[in-house]
């Protein structure tokens, strides 16, 4: 993990703790106060305040932990992905729809179940 700029371990600990409903509630009620329980520094606070999803990944935070923050804040993975691509949600959904159509010919599927 990249440790030089941001305290990735501590941010990861914070996100890992969101597995507990009480922490999710605290985070939703007052995100800044919840984040300040952890020694994540001003840089960590800034990244989480966005949240700046791509910068968090670039700093070394696992997407599997970021999904816990997204779940807590009610942000979908499609919205996270759109932000990382620099797209609106609608643009990203259009991309996925086009990709589905383009790739459909390569599907290997059983006969339909009734």
């Amino acid at each position: 993990m990249n440790q030089h700029a941001v305290n990735v371990y501590e941010i990861s600990r914070l996100l890992y703790d969101l597995r507990q409903p009480a922490n999710r509630e605290a985070c939703r009620a007052n995100p800044q106060a919840f984040y300040r329980r952890y020694a994540i520094g001003e840089d960590g606070l800034r990244l989480l305040a966005g949240p700046d999803w791509q910068e968090l990944v670039d700093a070394g935070v696992s997407i599997y932990l970021l999904t816990k923050l997204a779940a807590t804040l009610g942000v979908s993975l499609i919205e996270v992905g759109a932000a990382m691509r620099g797209m609106s949600k609608e643009q990203f959904e259009r991309f996925l729809g086009e990709q589905n159509r383009r790739n459909r010919a390569l599907a290997v599927l059983p006969e339909e179940e009734t």
Partner: protein, 280 residues
Amino acid sequence: MTMIVAGLGCSHAPSIAHAYDAGATREPGWKPLFDAFARARRWLGERRPDALVVIYNDHVDNFFFDTWPAFAMGVAGEYQIADEGWGPRRFAPVPGHPALARHLAARLLESGIDLATSRRMELDHGFLSPMPLIDFEQGWRAPVVPLTINVVLEPLPTPARCWALGEALGAAVASYPGDLRVAVIGTGGLSHQLAGPDFGKVFPRWDLEFMELLERAPQSLKDYTMADFARRGGEHSIEVVQWMAMRAALPADSRMELKYYYPFGLMGYGIAGFRPAQAD
């Protein structure tokens, strides 16, 4: 004689769990995938397994960065459902097979695979997104032995080492006393990329090539690095090492009897079923 009667590779993803829990399995986008899982479920049922070894990866729901084992086997009597941030899914705890698990762990250690064991493992979507689709009928059908591979906290085990784990697992299963019928499941992949400007890109040609290699030349996959897999199928597709370990556990002459592939949304979803030639 205890033997492996089936091997199954299949994708895992939160999306599968969310579609299932939202009752969306018959919606046009999702139906092809759930139909394929229904086939896999019937196929696995016909193989009549008494126990399942499920090779998957945890997504920072059970393990954390204080200590992350390269390989870890659950040796508990039952396994709780993890809360990944959306609340735990409404499934009963999954029954374990501690006698088989302890035997497998001991044999694996004797054969040079230094795996960790765990008496308390919470199962996340790596296990729980596909398993209700292939082994659930009112309740869990067969007891399980969970076996995790680290694909999260670098440095990671090499694909060749994951193959070696699978080979040793196959020998360990065969040495279990009695007449148990064991199925080995490997979950993960196929292609997906969950960061950066290519977020959501699917790589269907590589996915199909991977399944072809797994069928016809599985040992050739040992020459790949994790970086190779990431380049071909996206960063998060390295989970295919779990399919490799499954395939390595089976006799070389196993035949692929089931093959489905569905590139949809953020993922290339795959299912492959193998039957050992000697298994009735």
